[in-house]
């Protein structure tokens, strides 16, 4: 008989962090074998899965890009048909933006949040598993269109009327619409989980002025996602209804408005840009100072800049639509708002530069990735300011200049910090260091390949080369620059290959890391590497922003890492109050569960039913989903959710 209690004073205990606590390990360990693989709710395993899956999509999207670069290496080539090229650039964009850039940061945050916050798991462990399974299934759903030759082909922002039934009658666009709706569920539940985890599962004393910047970044991105993802979900629902049920939202002949799609898409799209960069900026703000041997310069301005960027980011969507014929007043307002974003961006940039300038930089591979990111951020930022100015945008829109800009933003601000982040936290995740020598080769190949590949795109764009053309005529002066771009992109790919080799080699033969190989300041470095299932043997009590650097910073506050709350009556962690992070409640946490996988599969059946126009399968999916939700939410005494029996 499972017995729970209504209230208890958690015991304070002293616990050596170096050894694994056998009792807690038994309580928190994921079940063995395939059962554990399918039912685990451990945020660390889910986080690593997220990163690995997102990197698999990065490779898929990268191969698509390389094929396109072969086609564009010279004028009048016929490696790809126009239709194949359309599918490739659409899939490349969708993959990189939706299946790589967002999920990879979710992976970092899933892995790191409880470790940074001093908790044993996220607020909703099963929701965490659900968000991963849906991400995986949505990716598979989208890629199922590939072997059928029916992939989306109207670009990653999928403008009607081109994406309407009249011009694109096949299932291609339906894969896009349903895939994006499906993936949106994953993003949304993930964002809700981050938000509630922040509100409830911080260690005692972790007040908001002590949060690592990565937490600020992901928090801001999560709130942004909760408010922005519904816009694109709705746009997809409306276009799907136009295509399948005869509605007229975007139907020009019936006075529908194709521009409505653009509004809804970019109301989502621009906040999403910040959702896929702000957590990456957080990685830089947290990891870079470790290699500068000093705390981040300007913690408070950087935290505020993070939030400010997102707030202003909700008021700039029209700058993607300058060329559609807007009233002059709108152009002026949205152009001004777009330029305002440079202010918080500059605040962070100068903070990073000052951190390096006033620190004692240690030139390791993570430092190379993180510091070079600053250069790429500035280049991508400046080209962004250029396209944010209306007159220049009229000239640059739909040219390769925009392609160059968005790649400097996405690769510079997302891929480079992610690479730095992997080199930085790989020892924590696996217990082994990555190879430093190979790491340098990895970095320089990527950095040079990237700039050789993408910088010429600015020039060819200024020369007038439009984006999304499958080939071009000779004699326009574009051949040489395109060839350089193709060579650079392959060099960049070699860099990624070196990274994969380093990963494989280091996983087996890397030097053992120990708990804190980089001498980092934050809570995740206080626990063994790899981290035990329960994270913290005792829930620490935090007194400063740098719990592990208090001695050398001669900080008057002292965190208590080895003496803290010992919660070992089953799976438990501490809930604290929202503002002050005072102990508030003992949370009973769920263990392994198949419900998330079942729910994701149920939803998957719904979407498969919809793409096949099969009412039967759709209904089967809805029923399966309903059963999974009921099983999931059914009140359990083990979780302290039901009334105590009056007689035993």
């Amino acid at each position: 008989m499972v017995v729970t209690e209504q209230g208890r004073a958690p015991r304070m205990a002293r616990q050596s962090g170096a050894t694994v606590d056998a009792t807690l390990e038994a309580i928190w360990k994921t079940g063995p074998g395939i059962r554990g693989v399918l039912s685990t709710v451990d945020h660390k395993r889910i986080g690593i899965r997220y990163i690995v899956t997102a990197c698999a999509f990065l490779i898929a999207g990268g191969v698509e890009a390389l094929i396109m670069r072969l086609q564009l290496a010279h004028s009048d080539l016929n490696i790809l048909s126009p239709e194949a090229y359309n599918q490739l650039f659409t899939m490349h964009g969708f993959t990189m933006i939706f299946l790589y850039a967002g999920p990879v940061l979710s992976g970092f945050s899933n892995y790191l949040w409880p470790l940074l916050l001093g908790s044993r798991d996220m607020a909703f462990p099963r929701l965490n598993a659900l968000s991963y399974w849906i991400f995986l299934l949505a990716g598979i759903f989208l890629y199922a269109s590939f072997p059928l030759g029916m992939s989306p082909d109207a670009g990653w922002f999928n403008y009607p009327p081109l994406s309407g039934k009249d011009y694109d009658p096949g299932p291609n666009i339906d894969f896009y619409l349903l895939g994006l709706i499906f993936l949106g569920i994953s993003t949304t539940v993930g964002a809700a989980n981050f938000l509630v985890s922040l509100l409830r599962t911080r260690a005692p004393g972790m007040s908001i002025n002590r949060l690592p910047i990565l937490i600020w970044g992901t928090l801001t991105a999560s709130v942004g996602n909760l408010l922005a993802v519904p816009a694109v979900t709705l746009a997809c629902v409306l276009l799907f209804a136009d295509r399948q049920f005869g509605t007229h939202f975007f139907d020009v002949e019936a006075h529908g408005q194709p521009l409505l799609w653009q509004h809804l898409f970019w109301m989502f799209g621009h906040p999403w840009v910040y959702a896929i960069v702000l957590p990456a900026l957080g990685i830089v703000s947290d990891a870079l100072p470790t290699f500068c041997r000093r705390p981040l310069v300007g913690y408070t301005p950087v935290a505020l800049a993070t939030v400010a960027t997102m707030i202003v980011g909700f008021g700039v969507w029209l700058h993607h639509m300058f060329a559609t014929g807007m009233p002059v007043l709108s152009l002026a307002f949205f152009s001004a708002a777009s330029l305002v974003i440079t202010i918080p961006s500059a605040v962070s940039t100068f903070a990073w530069i000052a951190t390096i300038w006033t620190g004692k930089p240690v030139l390791t591979t993570p430092f190379l990735f993180l510091s070079s990111f600053i250069i790429l951020f500035v280049i991508g930022g400046v080209s962004g300011v250029m396209t944010g100015a209306v007159p220049l945008d009229f000239q640059l829109t739909d040219t390769y200049f925009v392609v160059a800009h968005l790649h400097y933003v996405l690769i510079g601000i997302n891929v480079f910090p992610v690479m730095g982040g992997i080199y930085y936290w790989f020892p924590k995740m696996t217990g082994r260091m990555m190879n430093e020598r190979l790491g340098r080769w990895n970095f320089w190949t990527m950095f040079l390949g990237f700039n050789i590949g993408f910088f010429p795109m600015h020039i060819v764009g200024l020369m007038g080369m439009p984006r999304r053309i499958y080939t071009y005529a000779p004699g326009l002066g574009w051949d040489t620059l395109n060839l350089i771009t193709t060579l650079g992109s392959f060099a960049f790919a070699v860099g990624i290959l070196l990274f994969l080799i380093n990963l494989t080699v280091s996983l087996r033969r890397g030097r053992p890391a120990g708990a804190n190989p980089w001498d980092g300041p934050t809570l995740e470095w206080s626990v063994p590497s790899p981290v035990p299932a329960y994270n913290f043997a005792v829930i620490p009590v935090v007194a400063s922003r740098h719990p592990l650097w208090e001695d050398r910073l001669q900080s008057p506050e002292r965190s208590s890492l080895s003496r803290g709350y010992l919660l070992n009556h089953g799976r438990e962690t501490l809930a604290t109050t929202v503002l002050d992070a005072e102990p508030d409640l003992i949370l009973k946490m769920p263990g392994d569960s198949y419900a998330p996988l079942a729910l994701a599969l149920g939803l998957g059946i719904v979407f498969v039913g919809l793409i096949l126009h099969s009412e039967r399968w759709t209904i089967v999916g809805v029923l399966a989903t309903t059963v999974a939700i009921l099983v999931w939410l059914w009140p359990q005494r083990r979780l302290g959710q039901t009334a105590e029996p009056t007689h035993v």
């Binding site: 509100l199 005869g246 007229h248 809804l264 208590s560 003992i586 009973k588 009921l630 009140p635 959710q641």
Partner: protein, 200 residues
Amino acid sequence: MSESALREQSLPVGSFGRKSSGWYGVWTLVLTESAIFVYLLFSYFYLASQANGEWPIGGPPPLTLAAPNTVILLASSAALIWAERSGARRGKRLQLLAGLALALLLGVTFVIVQLREWHGKAFSIRSGTYGSSYFVVTGFHLAHVIVGLSVLLTLFIWALRGDFDAQRHAPITVGAIYWHFVDAVWLVVFSALYLVPHLG
């Protein structure tokens, strides 16, 4: 944190009303769902501003069914408040069950009346941008009502099994927030689609 806060104080264990994770979780759901209705109404008004035909088709929609139906939906929220305050929080199962049943009954009535109103419309979802907007906006809301009713039904079954007492009844609190949200959204949809056209 001061040393005094480190004292071993007694804390509640498990799921407790507004201290439960579900309570925080449902508010994130309300936040993101509110956003979807904001975008829906943005789309509705955007298309209205660009329409060159009749908007709404056949003049302002009649209030004969929709106005009383609004009262019915609000009454169901009131019933649920009573179920939670006088039933769940005091551990009185009969009041809880009666309140939930009443809320369910009123909610189902709302659905039936709404379907009847749909049936009586002279236009369909394929009748231009107004027809599409009207049915998609009210359809989105109706779908939320149906989900809300499933929540109430589930809570009713759990209450019948005796899963809740005066301490443990967080699912009631959480489910009630969702149901009140669905009702509040209706007030916005009703104002936008039914009342605003009468102003012009």
